[in-house]
């Protein structure tokens, strides 16, 4: 005869009391398990959702990046190469450079093999008075596009102005009533109007174009230019720094300015799209966190109520069990079994109840919480440990009170 056997026999004998206790523990463990599993499942689902969204964003951004790269590659953008000492405030205010650099730079660039640069337009510009007509004009000396040594010859983006010819902006030829073929005097030199541009709505409307050499001579800047305009360059805006560094090493004393605002806008749009995607992920995370917080709040109310209710029911069931067994307790004490061993009968009963109820509740809660969720050892310990603790806590006081009763009184009463 052992305590284990005695406890097992008693459980088998008084099934109903034990099953009620077991049911109570199972229910409590199932609710605890369900709460914890729901939170764990929620966390897993959150991870999945966020991970999916991040992956989706990553793919979308990669596609966007690729699209922009293709668009930019096809579209190209414009760069302005100006002397390094050019005051940029003046450049932006006047819309043309006022410092000078050697005209030979354009040949250097055209023959250096730099593949991102496609069309090179050297020019010299200066705002001046057109003395013959008392008009302020922008004199632009140009030699047309300089062919690149490494590229196939293409139709030039801009044709040179022939010597002795002049091109007038819209406002000039309109207000002075000049037309193609007219002979005019500009700053003391004779020119024939070869072209009159239509309205552009910018400084071009008050610009005069002549051959570069003539302009250099007129401005007393032989062999010098203000700027080289590089058109349809093929690189992404975020590679501008690299291109700037490269051009800087080819043409020392120059600086590079990006003039394609549409591309910058598109890059900005892409940046914003990325930011919005990240904000959407953050918002999803926030929503999931809020949902989790609400679940935790609900659990914070539900669990103590369930645990207290279950604890009280266990205590009641053990109290009735102890009452039913008072004669047994008395006789065991009369035949010399000490109180620790008798107490261990009840502890063992509670332990069995807690273990079976805890495991059953864990399984039931896990199934109800997620359909199928394989509980980890931490969850197992949390739920089964709580169930065992609950059973022991509920059993302790009535059991202790029962075995502390005077055995003589118990035996005499019966």
């Amino acid at each position: 005869m052992s305590i284990f056997k005695l406890a097992c026999q008693e459980i088998i004998r008084r099934k109903m009391n034990f099953l009620l206790g077991l049911l109570s523990i199972t229910l409590a463990a199932a609710i605890i398990s369900h709460s914890l599993v729901s939170l764990a499942t929620h966390d897993l689902r959150t991870e999945e959702i966020i991970s999916d969204k991040e992956e989706e964003t990553r793919i979308r951004m990669a596609k966007l990046e690729d699209d922009y790269r293709i668009i930019m590659k096809k579209m190209g953008f414009n760069l302005l190469i100006v002397p390094e000492d050019q005051n940029l405030a003046d450049l932006y205010a006047d819309d043309f450079a006022s410092s000078f650099m050697p005209e030979s730079y354009v040949e250097t660039l055209a023959t250096c093999g730099q593949v991102s640069i496609r069309h090179l337009l050297p020019s010299i510009q200066k705002k001046m008075e057109w003395p013959e007509y008392r008009r302020t004009v922008i004199l632009t000396g140009t030699r047309g596009e300089v062919p690149l040594a490494h590229a196939d010859p293409k139709e030039p983006m801009q044709n040179p102005v022939a010597p002795g010819e002049i091109i007038l902006g819209y406002e000039l030829h309109r207000s002075l009533n000049l037309k193609v073929g007219d002979s005019i005097k500009f700053n003391g030199s004779n020119f024939t109007i070869s072209e009159c541009y239509s309205e552009r709505g910018n400084k071009d409307d008050i610009t005069v174009w002549i051959e570069l050499a003539a302009a250099q001579k007129m401005l007393n800047k032989p062999g010098e230019i203000n700027a080289i305009l590089a058109l349809k360059c093929m690189c992404a805006p975020d590679q501008l720094a690299d291109l700037r560094q490269e051009i800087g090493s080819i043409l020392p004393g120059t600086t590079l300015i990006e003039k394609g605002s549409r591309i910058i806008t598109r890059a900005e749009a892409r940046r914003r799209a990325k930011a919005e995607a990240l904000a959407a992920i953050a918002s999803e995370k926030n929503t999931r966190l809020q949902l989790r917080s609400e679940m935790e709040q609900f659990n914070a109310v539900l669990l103590p109520v369930v645990l207290a209710g279950c604890g009280l029911l266990i205590a009641f069931l053990f109290w009735t069990n102890v009452r039913e067994r008072k004669s047994e307790i008395g006789i065991l004490r009369a035949i010399g079994v000490d109180t620790k061993k008798i107490m261990s009968l009840f502890v063992f009963r509670a332990l069995i109840m807690g273990l079976i109820g805890g495991i059953a509740g864990l399984a039931a809660g896990a199934l109800a919480g997620s359909g199928f969720f394989m509980p980890g050892h931490i969850l197992f310990l949390q739920v089964v440990g709580t169930a065992v603790f609950l059973a022991l806590a509920g059993a302790w006081i009535p059991s202790y009170a029962g075995i502390s009763r005077d055995p003589a009184q118990v035996l005499v009463e019966d």
Binding site: M1, S2, I3, K5, L6, Q9, E10, I12, R13, R14, S327, E328, G330, I331, L332, R333, A334, I335, G336, V337, D338, T339, K340, K341, D406, P407, A408, L411, V412, D414
Partner: protein, 225 residues
Amino acid sequence: MSNSEVLVLDRLYKSYVKENQRIKAVENFSIKLNPGEITAVCGPSGCGKTSLLLLAGGLLTPDSGRVLADGTNIVELNPNGKARWRSTYCGFVFQQYHLVPYLTVYENMLASELALGHDKNRRKKADDLCDLLGLNDRKKHFPGELSAGEKQRVALARALFTTPAVLLADEITGNLDDPNTDLVLKLLRDYSGRGGSVLLVTHDSKAADAADRIVFMEKGKMISG
């Protein structure tokens, strides 16, 4: 205490407070129990017989007086010490049997193993007791399936299982018919014949007649014996 005495109750006093009144259950009671002797304590209901029996077994603590067994005053032992002493030295049998309802006859007999631990020799003793008490065919039965006489025999077997020096029996024939009473008294005589000492509390004259010595009690006091 001489070497021949199994148990000595020395000037025992025990009183209870009931409804603000002190009731003297046992008053200045002294007796020596000898081996091989059945001592019957008789008296009317409420005279303190059962209290005396519980004092003798260390289940009640007297207000004063001593219970000496092998030179040890049982009264001074702590509850677990008393339990250990009971497990080896004395056996209890009650009128209400107090069998554990979910254990079989055989398991009830072995209940003392909870205190003493498992021992193969004792198992043989249990088998012998089953033979002796005519319980062989009832070994696997539960108390609920037994007659009153069988239950009392099981209770007696459980008490004798540890071969106690003294058997404390409280109205053990109270619920039995004549044949069963005769059988139980015969078993007590057999036990005392083997050197055991019996303190039998009874108001059954037939049981008292089976005793070697009869002590009368009234209002907690020994009035003759």
